[in-house]
Symmetry: C2
Subunit: 388 residues, 2 copies
């Protein structure tokens, strides 16, 4: 019995720029043309554009603007067909949407030296990113996020995914983009619930990493709520920056089980699912933040006044802090079930981010069920006191 | 127009051991149990085993042996169901094969802390590897290759893939395994054409990287042809070693367009396709090696005596050096078409590996069509002289 072994070990470097701009496809905006010009290539590369149907509805002239920009600058060879796919979860729920992108890759001779550009909300970016990641084992992928959530969170991250037989993000890969362009002009047409919901991720990252940023959000809560563009641009920039630093500095492909950026998320996943995704991700995260901050105080990690301030800021922004689906029902308490499901998901051992100060997260490996319920009850009563 | 940018950059480290053993699932072989013991985990991880139907036909007791090994050592929690999928390209041609694996992931609660083990030829490893790579954005994947080709080449590499609407490897990812176990006892049941075909990849890597290894192959051609197990074990070990070094030392995820390990492959891809994959990959590569070695001589890079020796060794092993599908036909010359297709595949600029000495490759960016045809004719005549 021959028993030799060879140890294999290598590193792969991933690099991409995240740009912040407005009117990316305006003739006078050189950003995109510069991006292509900086890539040395034997031949002008091809570009396939895939757009979010929900975005196109509000930005009817977008396909024309893109064609004009590309023909003006000659920076890339635009494939004839500009694809439009349904926006939101529909893009991720139907395998024929991703298949149609892979078909287009074939039809237009898109190869590993070509580019696929996705323009849309997080769902469209996830679906297109997935198709791009697996076609030819990976086609260069450019993201143009059009929602607050995708501009400050999912769009500059490294994950993509689609749903499989109704299971959320059951299929996907870790595949960084080659560039991200955050174009603030898209945000103007965003429904108000979407606008607000995206702010949760910024609050989350501020709470675990940057007390000054939380102060800034708290001071600008009213402006943010009232759709001030400048305030939102700053919020997105700082949130993106903290996110990118976090990804680069830790475990980008999540080989381990520590996921600090999931602060406020364990209960959010359960609530989204219970609501059949009626509750938006960011809304569920706002409630999760309220819950885990309150828990942090009840468990003695965080001063009570701090958890109160956090809940105040969430409410000042117009974000929810509780949902009736999280109340006890016939089949037990949904929060405790959610906690068990999360434990299983992590392979048997919980790792949960809590707060020891505003701007300073801490990981624990157990939550006290009684305190979780106490935190939920406190939030529920607070909401009842307002509405009642 | 706000024009800030953030540069993102990070590296990801991939590590895995490639083990060489026999009778991996024999009670007295501690290798696999040690692998799991070395992983610290909160709970005993789950293991889903997926086997190649063609292998099970010759190794009927394999599922039982695996169950016995696992229950004896208690190293892992084996999922009830041992899956058997069709061997060869069938595994890669039917999306319901990969879907059935993803379904099993769901059904058995396999998560990112669990393992999926694939036992089979390169095709089964590619299909299972793909399913494992995308389910939950990547489940830890163990490969147990059972053919010469997969033990010395594909099994320890970083790629997987399936076919899409009949297009070979159109979909896939770069996803390194967490461990590879090369078990020599599987090779005994391999059909003879498969046994021989796998040797081509060793000749290929020897020719571009290691003259001594080529000498060794040349001296052992008869033993290898006659299925000497010890000789084959050495061949596989050295070929795997050179492969692993190459992957670690260059561009593992093929972001660039240089692919030195594709020596002899540009024409092989065309021949496989023309034959409807009747010609095995390794057979096509043997012909491709003969062609590109002869070309290297005709172009003045390689001494004529060296290209003759290479062709001699291929023939001594019983590998083909030419195929009638590569002769000119009604729609032009298949080799010149193949060359153009390859150029397109590389995004417009050819990069082709040739030889400047035995053991020493060199890249060129253009091939002379007339010389390509002259090389093909020389091989064709050589075959005719033998058979005629
Ligand atoms: N990959 C990751 O790391 C990651 C992280 C968080 C969330 N996500 C995913 O992101 C998705 C949610 O993304 P989202 O919050 O951006 O929403 P979304 O993509 O679901 O879009 C919501 C709706 O807004 C429309 N829309 C998008 N941009 C618009 C605009 N500028 N004007 C008007 N309408 C517009 C869409 O067509 C859609 O109907 C979920 O599928 C979630 O799983 C992924
Ligand atoms: N991922 C990569 O980097 C990479 C590299 C090269 C080739 N490949 C792929 O590998 C595949 C070819 O793989 P292969 O040459 O290993 O053949 P294969 O997987 O196609 O298997 C050939 C046949 O042999 C049977 N078989 C396998 N092991 C056996 C054994 N021990 N005894 C008896 N029968 C056995 C199989 O059931 C099948 O019928 C192709 O699909 C090719 O695209 C992948
Ligand atoms: Zn989130
Ligand atoms: Zn090969």
């Amino acid at each position: 019995m021959n028993k030799r072994s060879i140890k294999q070990s290598f590193t792969v470097t991933f690099e991409y720029d995240v740009h912040f701009t407005a009117d990316l496809f305006a003739a006078e905006n050189p950003l995109l043309a510069q991006f292509f010009a900086n890539k040395t290539a034997a031949a002008t590369p091809k570009l396939l554009v895939v757009m979010d149907g929900g975005v196109v509805e509000y930005h009817r002239s977008l396909p024309e603007k893109i064609r004009a920009y590309v023909s003006e600058t000659g920076c890339v060879e635009l494939v004839d067909e500009v694809m439009v796919i349904p926006g939101g979860e529909t893009a991720k729920n139907n395998v024929h949407v991703t298949d149609s992108i892979i078909d287009a890759v074939d039809r237009h001779g898109i190869d590993r030296h070509s580019y696929i550009m996705a323009i849309g909300g997080g769902a469209v970016l996830d679906a297109v990113g997935y198709a791009a990641a697996v076609a030819h084992r990976g086609i260069r992928h450019i993201r143009i996020p059009t929602t607050v959530l995708s501009q400050n969170d999912s769009g500059m991250g490294v994950k993509n995914g689609i749903n499989f037989r109704g299971k959320k993000n059951f299929i996907g890969t870790f595949s960084p983009p080659v560039a991200v362009f955050n174009d603030s002009s898209f945000l103007r047409t965003l429904p108000h619930r979407q606008w607000l919901a995206g702010i949760s991720e910024a609050i989350k990252v501020a709470l675990i990493k940057d007390a000054d940023f939380f102060e800034w959000i708290s001071r600008h809560a009213e402006l943010l709520h009232n759709r001030d563009a400048k305030a939102m641009e700053h919020l997105i920039y700082r949130c993106a920056e903290l996110h990118l630093q976090h990804i680069a500095g830790s475990d980008p492909f999540e080989f381990g089980s520590s996921r600090p950026l999931d602060f406020g998320h364990w209960s959010a996943h359960k609530l989204e699912q219970l609501s059949g995704f009626e509750v938006l991700h960011g809304e569920a995260v706002a409630i999760g933040i309220a819950l885990d901050s309150t828990y942090s105080s009840l468990a003695g990690y965080l001063p009570y006044s701090d958890s109160q301030r956090i809940v105040d800021v969430l409410q000042a922004l117009g974000l929810p802090i509780f949902h009736s689906l999280l109340e006890i029902g016939d089949i037990g308490h949904p929060l405790l079930t959610g906690l068990e499901e999360f434990r299983e998901h992590l392979g048997g051992r919980l790792t949960i981010m809590l707060l020891q100060a505003i701007g300073n997260g801490m990981e624990v490996h157990e939550l006290d069920s009684a305190l979780v319920l106490q935190a939920a009850t406190a939030l529920q009563q607070r909401v009842a006191a307002i509405h009642g």
